[in-house]
Every structure is written in C-alpha cells, then in structure tokens.
Symmetry: C2
C-alpha cells in the first residue's frame, strides 16, 4: 500500500500517524512538492485536486487525508479503531469536518504563511486559529478525547496542525486543555512525530 | 427526531434533502438566525460552534451537516444509503470534505456575500468557486454520481450550494456535466427543493 507523501505536510502526517498507531504498513513515496510534482500529469491522474496525500491500495485510489483515515480505520484498523455505532461515527465525522475546514483555514494556513510564504490572509488565519482553538479548549475541558470517549481517527485528523500551530506563530499558551490533549496523543503507543511536532 | 433548522440554510437543506430521499421523519425546529438565536445559551449548549443544523435524536446530539448525514445514513438509511465497504465510505468522505471545505469557501461564501451581505472576500470566493466547479465538471464527465457509482450522502452534501451557486452570482453555464448531475439529483425519488433551488 503506497502513500504519496511529503515529510513536512501535516495532511500527509495525519495518515502516517494513524498508520503507526494502528500498525498498518505503508510504503512512502516521496513527492517533490517544491518542484511541483504534485501537479504533474501522473499525479493529477491519481488526484485531479493536485494535492497530497494520495493512498494507493491495489486498485483503490483515495485522496483527502480524512477519507484515507476512514478507509484505513474501517479496512485495517480492527476493533480498536473502527467504531461501528452510527452516533460514534457521527461524532468522529464532526471532527473530520473541523480538520477539513476550521483547522485547514486556521493553524494550517497560518503555518503556510509563516513557513512557506504562502500568499494568504494572515489576519484571517490568526482569527480563525483562535476561534477553533477556543472551541477545542472548551471541548477538551469536558472530554479527554475528541470523539467517542477514546482515541479515534479524529485525533489523527486534528492533532497535526494543532501540534504545528507555533510554526505558524499561533501560541498555544492560552489553551492548557489543548496542551494536555496534545501530550495524551503523544503518549499513545506507537506514536510517531514529524519535524516541528 | 428534531432538526434545528433554517429554511434558507443550504447546510440545513443537506439534512432535509437526505431525510426526504431516505424517508426519515424529522421534526423541524425553526431557528431565528437573523435574531441570532443560534448564538443563544440554549443553542450553544447543543452546539458550541454556534451553527445550525443540529440534530437531536433522543440522547444523541450532533452538529455539522456532514456528520449528521453519516449518522442518519448509517442508522436509518438502510441498504440503499449505507455503504458498508471501506473504500466506498472513503469515496464518500472525500466529497464530505469537499462540502466542508471547498464548497463552503466557494459557492456557499459567494452566496453569503450576495444574499446576506456577509463581510467576506468576494474575489476569493469567486476564484474558489470556479476551481471546485471545474474539478466537479471533470469528475462528472466520467461519473454519473460523486461516489460509489450511485447516489449517496455525498450528493446531499455537495448538491445544495452548487444548486444555489447562481444566488452568489456564480454562473453554472460553463459546466454542462454539473448541470446534468444537478438534474439527475432533482429527479431522485422523493427529492425536495428549497427556495432558490
């Protein structure tokens, strides 16, 4: 099973993190993002959105880190990682949407601006980061984990860009419960880091 | 089962549309959005994000239209709407992420600007709308449906704000395959519309 991957991408790290936690073997295929390889004809044939990660498992090709997490958890995650009950899956998907939207346009974008000079609206990214971190702090004041009362793929989707927030000059000092949760995730068996985490 | 709802919200319509297609009974609770009722203490207790839709099914409370769609399809959708296979769920989630991100920041935002005077970046919303519509057109040139070769909750998540795009002055004239798909969705048994669709 191949993961088209970039070491510095938090979206790719979502998948690497889950694969490590769930003991799933991935063959990493490095994509030369800086040279624009993700926009090459070969890569666009795999993912017309021109983004990574991309997972190729025999004849199955999936784009979008959240979709890849659902696939891997369901097919290979076993009982520890696959939640059969409808309302627990709903709880998880709430946070997959947060990862795809609020986290993407908050701390992820702030980091793209600071670390990679992306031409994006810095004030907006900072405001959106504070908003979602405040909501996360509130949720984690009453819950140890994001969904279902236990570690799930929601952690893998949300953790990376929160853990990388300070690379986007978003301070986490005001969010003690978020910091405790980051530590809980880091203490999960088989946890792997990435540069900046 | 109660849906906290606003008639003019495409996000609420995602849920109303799926409930109609799958013959699921919902009791609609109108939220006075213009008066800020979604930010009231009672509503924030149900959804700290201060957004609608919110689904309340006995003791289960879910926010985020995409999460509600997963829950309803899984619990009440039956075989016609619940895809058991991991890779088909992955395909569906790809489009739930698109609904939560690219559609939200493209045609949804363009409509918020034009119809509700939202103080957002119009040029960005137009650019993002064109980008996602082009990708949708490409996908629908080779596929009748978004995922799994059949109508799924991906349609319910993506259809509303694409069908409402012209309310945001985003023309759909250049996207014939998108128009054909909109028509296919409208012809599904038990389809319901909303104002503007």
């Amino acid at each position: 099973m191949k993961l088209y991957d970039l070491t510095l991408s938090g979206n790719c790290y979502k998948v690497r993190l889950f694969a490590a936690l769930a003991n799933i073997d991935l063959t990493l295929v490095a994509v030369d993002f800086m040279a624009g390889e993700h926009k090459s004809a070969e890569m666009l044939a795999l993912n017309p959105f021109g983004e990574i990660p991309i997972l190729v498992d025999d004849k199955i090709v999936l784009r979008d880190a959240q979709a890849i997490l659902v696939y891997l958890a369901h097919r290979y995650g076993g009982e520890a990682w696959w939640l059969g009950e409808a309302h627990l899956q709903g709880e998880v998907v709430q946070w997959l949407s947060v990862a795809a939207n609020e986290i993407q346009h908050g701390p992820n974008t702030a980091r793209l601006i600071e670390k990679f000079n992306a031409p994006k609206d810095k004030h907006r990214a900072i405001a959106q980061s504070k908003q979602i971190l405040t909501l996360l702090e509130q949720h984690l004041s009453a819950n140890s984990w994001l969904a279902a009362g236990r570690p799930t793929i929601a952690e893998c989707a949300v953790f990376p860009y929160v853990a990388l927030a300070e690379e986007g000059r978003i301070s986490l000092a005001a969010y003690p419960k978020v910091n405790e949760w980051l530590l809980r995730v880091k203490q999960l068996p088989n946890f792997v880091a990435m540069p900046g985490v």
